[in-house]
Amino acid sequence: MSPVEGRRAHLLTAAAVVAFAVFLAVADRTFDAFTLRVLNLCGIYVVLALSLNLVNGFTGLFSLGHAGFMAVGAYTCALLSMTREQKELNFFLEPILPWLARVTVPFPLALLAGGVAAAILGFLIAAPALRLRDDYLAIATLGFAEIIRVILTNAQPVTNGALGLKGLPSFAGTGVVWACAAAAVLFMVLLVRSAYGRALKAVRDDEIAAAAMGIDVFRTKVVSFTVSSFMAGVGGALLGHVITTIDPRMFTFMLTFNILLVVVLGGIGSITGSVIGSFAVTILMEALRFLDGPLDLGFVRTDGRPGLRMVVFSALLMAVVLFRQRGLMGTREFSWSMLARAGLLPRAGRSGAAGGPHGAA
């Protein structure tokens, strides 16, 4: 069977995108608030997973500081998009910095600012941290994320400290979230297939050889890290505005762990994997919520035992890494040819029989 490529593939992709957009529009109108939120959470996780995959999967750096960048993005966006009244409502313990109270910008700008703030932070961290070896890089980035969290918890006049910010304006609707998700996917696909993407993978596969071929390894890593931080900042901002409250306790290592789970499950180094993983984990996360509540399985009865859900997820992560390290997709990407080989695509109009121009080789 011939591979599905060229115009046919493009047409199929366009059709799929349109179909999904229609689905989203319908969902936005008909789904109840809870289900819609889960759907949008999937979209946010797509952005977050791709940002982590960019650094960990495609550049080969083990960064564990994602929650920190998300926090910076979330707080920046929130503080810029909230109105003065909303801020004053929150900062009852200690007044917010005056100039900060006055600033309110349109949401798209605030979102962008969140990304940029996270990117700047990422750039500053990258310079020292990326000179370290894998495991040290992991701990250093984890350390930075913790430092950020502690600062956010203590900077009362700026962030409202441990109280967090409540009542964030709900600008992050279905359209915004999925537009960002689509942009993230598009960007990643284009990047990975380009010469720059090749350079990233070369750095990942063999840094020494990459340098010998003229690639500025350090600079490539820094750029990758900075772009990833930008995406994480946007993702964090979206998350905050969908949930409409943020506080430092949201941005712990557990959050990074969730995203890591998505990436590992889907396949480190696969965009398709991250997308599928985002849906799978987000939906599973909600579906298994019952595990944290009272259970009645007939033979076993428990009162609410929060934590059982995370037990399942931790075990899942370990199972994947122990038995199927490459995750669902490994480093492969989706292609229409895959579906065709599995017999899931309707045959092209002209030649169905073997022996025709598109027949089996």
Binding site: F62, G143, E146, F257, R305, L308, M310, V311, M318
Partner: protein
């Protein structure tokens, strides 16, 4: 800042530091041999404390028996952990092992939440350790005196094992070059199991002592100390046992003395360790007592 007050702070710093040291040793031993950051180590610390607690509370053992039982059980757990979560990945890329370690850490923590419940449990401190001593204007709980003594005793024992016994020599061989050690007919698996067992035993001891000093147990009690103790090990020189002890004391001292002199920074306490870590990694990544490492092409 009066002298007695300063001495008070110093004593606190000493006992916190030795707790950190006990836990840091486990990290450094495992990293030295496997180049693995055992993220689950802090949770092993928690496990030891809980096992001791339940031995007393549910099985009504005397405290010293509970302690013994707990540290032995935890040592065994450490060995099992290595077998299940790390050994299968020994030839895999390091990222995979690290992910497994992170997964194991979360798994243990959440199993703890499920089994033990998220609400803190109060520990009854053994009477002999609950004595308030007054030494020249400084009031110290007896437990705070015992901990440093215990730490140094343990350190001495470990140094003796590593330098003077066959097992210790095997450990040093494996940490220098695992494949070469294998070729010398050293049973690498046994050495690694021994390392994990010992490290976990020490973590359990640390956890139990911690629970005597801060008598509130919760399943997440190991997370932050775990991270800090790894940092302590890095500061002192990862792979070096004396480095871990030095790092532990240094961290404890810096943490408590900084807050003592600058109380406004109390909220930032947890961040000190991380700031120190970043400084060390920038200036001398091999740590205070570590040697320089060369990577062969």
């Amino acid at each position: 800042m009066t002298l007695p007050l300063f001495l008070q702070h110093l004593t606190n710093a000493l006992s916190l530091g030795s707790l950190y040291a006990l836990i840091a040793i486990g990290y450094t031993m495992v990293y030295g041999i496997l180049r693995l950051i055992n993220f689950a180590h802090g949770d092993v610390f928690m496990l030891g404390a809980y096992l001791a607690f339940y031995s007393v509370a549910t099985f009504l053992l005397p405290w010293w028996a509970a302690l013994l039982l707990a540290i032995l059980l935890t040592a065994a757990f450490g060995v099992v952990l290595e077998r299940v979560a790390y050994r299968p990945l020994r030839d895999s890329p390091r990222i995979s092992v690290m992910i497994s370690a992170i997964g194991a850490s979360f798994l243990i923590e959440n199993v703890g939440i499920v089994l033990f419940g998220g609400r803190p449990k109060g520990v009854t401190v053994p009477p002999v350790l609950d004595v308030k001593l007054d030494l020249g204007g400084v009031s110290v709980m007896s437990v705070s005196l015992l901990i440093p003594v215990l730490t140094f005793a343990v350190l001495g024992a470990l140094v003796w094992i590593v330098q003077k016994t066959r097992t210790g020599m095997a450990m040093r061989a494996v940490s220098t070059d695992l494949d070469a050690a294998r070729l010398q007919a050293i049973d690498v698996n046994r050495v690694i199991s021994f390392t994990f067992g010992t490290g976990s035993l020490l973590a359990a001891l640390g956890g139990i002592m911690w629970s005597y000093k801060y008598p509130q147990l919760n399943p997440l009690m190991g997370t932050m100390p775990g991270l800090k103790c790894f940092i302590a090990a890095v500061i002192g020189g990862i792979g070096s046992i004396s480095g871990a002890v030095l790092g532990g004391f240094l961290l404890g001292a810096i943490e408590l003395l900084t807050i003592a002199f600058l109380p406004t920074l109390t909220g930032y306490r947890d961040a000190f360790a991380f700031v120190l870590l970043i400084l060390v990694l920038l200036v001398k990544p091999s740590g205070l007592l570590g040697g320089t490492q060369v990577e062969k092409v």
